[in-house]
């Protein structure tokens, strides 16, 4: 059941990315190109997704436990620090350069295998790099 939920969630996510135009890096780049030929589509994607998720959070508050697991495991950190802001800013640079964030990149592995794989392999290398520096700083 739990596994089915993972697969179903991933498939819905991938389908949403495909119909929304978010698997087109040039369109995502267009959203970030505010000073140029701005394309507001991404704002509608975020709007639709946030709307549904806001309802889901309302339901979540009334549920003692999720359907297929024993408890909710949600981020509880409240600290806003340089790691959060700097990490997000770094991610933004990558997003702006390639027009890709992790979801569309992974989703494109079948439909646009070569460029998506170049991005995803590099992304994994970046994650490994973080893991190594994290180990060193502790």
């Amino acid at each position: 059941m739990r596994h089915l939920i993972g697969l179903l969630s991933g498939m819905l996510f991938g389908a949403g990315l495909a119909i929304s135009g978010m698997m087109d890096p040039s369109r995502v780049r267009g959203f970030l190109d505010v000073a140029g030929n701005w394309d507001p589509t991404l704002a509608f994607v975020m709007g639709g997704a946030v709307l549904v998720m806001a309802l889901a959070w309302l339901v979540q508050r009334r549920m003692p436990a999720p359907v297929a697991c024993e408890e909710f495991s949600l981020p509880g950190t409240r600290i806003i620090d340089g790691k959060l802001i700097g990490g997000a800013a770094l991610f933004g640079i990558g997003w702006g350069l390639g027009g890709l964030c992790p979801g569309p990149a992974v989703a494109s592995l079948v439909t646009n295998p070569v460029p998506a794989a170049v991005f995803v392999l590099a992304m994994v290398a970046g994650m490994v790099g973080f893991r190594l520096t994290e180990g060193g700083s502790k």
């Binding site: 993972g6 969630s9 991933g10 498939m11 996510f13 991938g14 389908a15 990315l17 495909a18 119909i19 929304s20 135009g21 890096p25 040039s26 140029g36 394309d39 507001p40 589509t41 509608f44 975020m46 709007g47 639709g48 997704a49 889901a56 959070w57 339901v59 999720p66 495991s73 949600l74 981020p75 806003i80 790691k83 959060l84 802001i85 700097g86 990490g87 997000a88 800013a89 991610f91 933004g92 990558g94 997003w95 702006g96 390639g98 992790p102 990149a105 992974v106 592995l109 439909t111 646009n112 460029p115 170049v118 590099a122 992304m123 994994v124 290398a125 970046g126 994650m127 973080f130 893991r131």
Partner: protein, 147 residues
Amino acid sequence: MLSELFPHAQPLHGFIGGILIGLAGAVMLLGAGRIAGVSGLAARTLGLASGAPRMLAALFIVGLPIGALIMTTALGGIESRFPPSYAVLAVAGLITGFGTRLGSGCTSGHGVCGLSRLSPRSIVATGSFIASGMVTVALVNALGGGW
């Protein structure tokens, strides 16, 4: 009016896709009690982070291209233009991988799940990556590297 101002925009397709993405997040939250954040679940799948049960994370990640392929086929293909340079893709991927781990999330985790939860951390992170993405695109354009 929107279509006159922004002829390339696809607000309806965007909104429908957004609803599907929101449903994906809702299924993960209410079903498994977790955040549907792609960077975190990808790192978890590869054993690079703690968090969700590994099989749950892996099946979510595998589901992404399956769902995308089904929808793409149903639509008879989708438009998709990637950056023309593999070097740009590789650098962008590297920065994205490192930055999303350092900042604990990406567009899905912070931008969709966190914003809708009104998480102060996610609001700050989303503002940060959108701002830096906009600055990056403006700089690349100014340097003649637009695509």
